[in-house]
């Protein structure tokens, strides 16, 4: 198990009802974190148009996560 801090933004924050939580998760990749937190909060959002960052660096869904990492889950962006 790894201790992961997960941060939620925009629609994800509203679905989760909080902006951040620290969880003990059995995960290998950023995708695993997304899937487990999605189940936890009952979100329907697929990851296809979403983005992820690990410790303030943009990452891929296949990027590995380590104990103590902060994973930032970004729903589809819409700047401009």
């Amino acid at each position: 198990m790894k201790t992961i801090t997960v941060r939620y933004f925009a629609m994800f924050r509203e679905h989760a009802g909080l902006g951040e939580e620290t969880l003990s998760l059995d995960v290998a990749t950023a995708k695993d974190v997304f899937e487990q937190t999605r189940l936890r909060h009952g979100s329907r959002e697929p990851n296809g148009h979403c983005k992820v960052a690990i410790n303030d660096e943009m990452a891929d869904w296949s990027s590995p996560v380590a104990d103590g990492d902060t994973v930032l889950l970004f729903p589809p962006v819409a700047g401009g």
Binding site: P46, D56, G79
Partner: protein
């Protein structure tokens, strides 16, 4: 330089800051809040941004534009918070030796910013409903 601000954007000041003796052309783009989106009447917008990565990713976009369309100065400012119809949501300005680089760099910067930066837009509709742009429909389609 890229910035995020919760206060009104002032284009004249931004344009003045890009003045350069070597510049023969200046091009800017202003994104305004529109009163309708996909057939729904919009009352106001709300922008949320994750500033550390807006800055980091935005600087990459500016560097990419510079490599392709050599300009002299470029700036972008994006609003956060609640905006009313007609408000300025984003401003991009580019000063370059010639107009071609100015136009092309400006276009590249705004196009990339819209799809890459962690910025989210919530529309508040006239009928009282609200929704995150690009999010609700994405969930309905179930794409992965």
């Amino acid at each position: 330089m890229i910035e995020v601000t919760a206060t009104r954007i002032e284009p004249a000041e931004l344009q003045a800051s890009l003045q350069d003796p070597g510049a023969g052309g200046f091009c800017s783009f202003e994104g305004w809040v529109r009163n309708v989106n996909e057939g729904r009447a919009v009352e106001r917008l709300e922008y949320e941004a994750y500033e550390p990565l807006v800055i980091a990713e935005g600087e990459k976009v500016l560097a990419e534009a510079l490599a392709q369309f050599p300009y002299l100065e470029a700036r972008c400012v994006h609003r956060t918070g609640l905006l009313e119809i007609g408000d300025l949501a984003v401003w991009v300005g580019v000063a370059a030796p010639h107009r071609d680089e100015a136009f092309k760099a400006c276009r590249y910067i705004i196009d990339e910013l819209k799809v890459r930066l962690p910025i989210w837009k919530k529309e508040h509709y006239v009928d009282g409903d609200s929704g995150w742009v690009n999010c609700e429909r994405c969930a309905e389609h179930g794409a992965t």
